[in-house]
Symmetry: C2
Subunit: 144 residues, 2 copies
Amino acid sequence: MSISSRFSVGIHILSLLEINKDGVNTSEFIAGSVNTNPVVIRKIMGMLKNAGLVKVRPGVAGAELGKDISEITMLDVYKAVNVVQEKELFGVHANPNPSCPVGKNIQETISPIFSAAQLSMEKALDNVTIMDVVKEIIEKGQGT
Amino acid sequence: MSISSRFSVGIHILSLLEINKDGVNTSEFIAGSVNTNPVVIRKIMGMLKNAGLVKVRPGVAGAELGKDISEITMLDVYKAVNVVQEKELFGVHANPNPSCPVGKNIQETISPIFSAAQLSMEKALDNVTIMDVVKEIIEKGQGT
DNA sequence: TTACATGTAACAATATAAGTTACAACTAAT
DNA sequence: ATTAGTTGTAACTTATATTGTTACATGTAA
């Protein structure tokens, strides 16, 4: 199991919008960098737009960042692209037997444990911004 | 997306083995508590067995715990049932365009971020034992 | 009006999860 | 040694999610 790559693609898109901010970032151009279909990009862009991370308009070519990259965290992107629902990172088996003490109480017992683990992961994502990513990409690029 | 319920079922099984340690815990009995098919239980039990968390033998009815429940953490179960591979909680899009500075460096840049977030989640799982779960189940049971 | 972009619906291909059937291998008890 | 019952697995089905793709309506600017 892996969390959808919409997340990594979302990060890729936002980083590209910053690094190529003087160019015209059409879905086709971005798709060329990500190496996928433009429609995939447009779908993800739609989610980023709903979250206010990106500005796009029907008919007009190119997308722009909706916020300063220092104010967009990995968690913002993660939530925008809807890869994991709240408290649902861990699947829990449905309908355990209520006439068994374990079956009756297992769900309520483990769900706070799972929620805490999920929150801990999300908190880590909140500590990194697109700016951090962009800086790192540029640094690695220098090395060439 | 959710992490496979094999994990929650694994926790259920181990808790049941403790709480019903004086009974004979066949796959059919456990399946009755989890409310699934006995074969599903046997598959998961096989994984728990490989990890040394459970003792089962072909032909002989009933499973037993392989370790003291205070020494089995959620992380042990999580790893045993193989729901998430190391460094693969987050999927990353393959083959980004190497002739674009972003495409060239995005994978190397985000993978440590993703690994850190995954580790943070796993660390949280390592703080809770089956004993904690069992105690909680018993407490909730008292309230009845 | 035209050229070109975005926004979406609809569909295909693939992968995984979860359940199910069937049966071989094994053990303990008679 | 035979039998009854259990575990261990392979094979298959069903359901769901992801990713990619085609097609086209909608919108904008020149």
